[in-house]
Symmetry: C2
Subunit: 337 residues, 2 copies
Amino acid sequence: MRIVLDVMGGDLSPHELIKGGVVAARRLSVDLLFVGDPAVVRSALSSVRVPVGGKFDILPSSQVVEMDDSPVRAVREKKDSSLVVGLEAVRNGDADGFVSPGNTGAIVAAALLTLGRCARIPRPGILAALPTLSGPDLLVIDVGANADSTADQLESFAMMGATYARDVLGLRDPVVGLLNIGTEETKGNRLAVETHARLARGPLTFHGNVEPHSLLVDRPVDVVVCDGFVGNVFLKAVEGGISAVTSLLKKSITRDAVATLGALLLRRAFSNVREVLSYQRRGGAPLLGVQGTVVIAHGRSDAEAIASAIDVARREIAAGLVERISTGMQGWPADGG
Amino acid sequence: MRIVLDVMGGDLSPHELIKGGVVAARRLSVDLLFVGDPAVVRSALSSVRVPVGGKFDILPSSQVVEMDDSPVRAVREKKDSSLVVGLEAVRNGDADGFVSPGNTGAIVAAALLTLGRCARIPRPGILAALPTLSGPDLLVIDVGANADSTADQLESFAMMGATYARDVLGLRDPVVGLLNIGTEETKGNRLAVETHARLARGPLTFHGNVEPHSLLVDRPVDVVVCDGFVGNVFLKAVEGGISAVTSLLKKSITRDAVATLGALLLRRAFSNVREVLSYQRRGGAPLLGVQGTVVIAHGRSDAEAIASAIDVARREIAAGLVERISTGMQGWPADGG
């Protein structure tokens, strides 16, 4: 299995990204194809004493899509960018999947243009896996591939999320919930009410509406469906709540000697919190619904996070997820596929 | 100044609510008019040894709008509910403001029906005051009066939020931000892009888009504008992030004797966090844009929270906010009014 890593995207240096690729190749049974400026890749590889060839290869590209480039224009004008060249390698069968910590909008636009949509999927969606306090991660889709969505699109996000939960995470009968501001079926905006009615008709196992405040603690469902604008606000607001508590605790602690001692004794508990809740340092978010495996890593990914994003791609490829999504709702109920 | 308190709404007993009213009347210069079942109010008042008359009076009503009643139907069918009777007292000039911990949807519907909208305000909005780590509270409007909104409505939420910040909180030149999923003006859904363009034209001081993750820590603006669905998701997701950290810390702490000692030493820091961040136990959320002062308290409000909600109403009345909102954008720039 060979995975293309876009080493020119993101806020970090290509060196850190390449280090992540090397870590992943050593840990997992994957080969890496680094797409970017060949001189930069060669120098980074030699600095970690890794020879080119064998598990590691270079795909040259001369342009870079920047984080603040306009997505559609960047994809049209930068044909020799690491982003476009890397995705073309997936389309041509030279690689099995693509990982990039770059400009999310540009990755979505380039993936649509280069790989195209899966059959019967109106729009791709980005799936985020959030750590929870009870059980496995909570999957949320869409967290930002689209700003405006229809109920038809939300229904297909639900199907893709449930397929991921079943085929990649191995959940037997994934339960889907609709992110909403009340539990009754009449609650929410027009989009939520219409989506509720569609999901209630089946074939997925639908729990009904779920509200944002208890999701990480109670984990009432496996997959949460929402439009990309609301999903992105949800993710960032959870992050905001977490960082408000931790900043405030830090402030209170440094003001007071007794508290400082207390914090020392609590060190393990605090690092446990960081570990469990820091979803932004883990993994990558798969873009589902395009004809190829594409994983978006965080712009501030370090080597460990990049290795984890490569593992997300590896698991998706191993599960044959793109195929499974293309067979669509026919694959349900859960024992099908 | 006389404030009506709806003692039949909410999840708590009328006794707790009445206690809150008594606390407020003793602390602030307000008189209380308790609307609800007179026998219940009389018994609650006598249990805290408060005579009827003077600062405390009773407005009898025979019906109750339940938390799960359909808002519009409840308001139409329960003409003698504490909600409708209490709002009529404001409309008729028998009281200066109304506070209820009841069904939010029903309060909005009843306030619209009984008091009507302010001139040039297309829809009322609920304003929430969130505690932050730097400076005064962050105002967010709308957090749930409306499920679907237009840019025109969001623009009027901005005006109402800024007027509140100026005339009730005393900020000289309140800065408004638009809740969005990116900082560039082209980011977000159609509603956000259109609202951005309107706010950029003035007359309010507009900071541009703000993202959810840093709002409580950095507090980049005074007023955050959003549609009610997104605002409600934002509030509940922040709450979810906070409760995830605190639950996880609790779990880690009880598993481990050293950590338990650490937690003991950190007691003050933890209670500081609870105090600063527990917006749901504080105050009440004003419903802005109707022709009268209406404050929605949390359904699980205790006496202290009710007293605080009454104070929110008192400050709004003292500032003449309803008048100020009715004069609208003419009141701006900030030195006007």
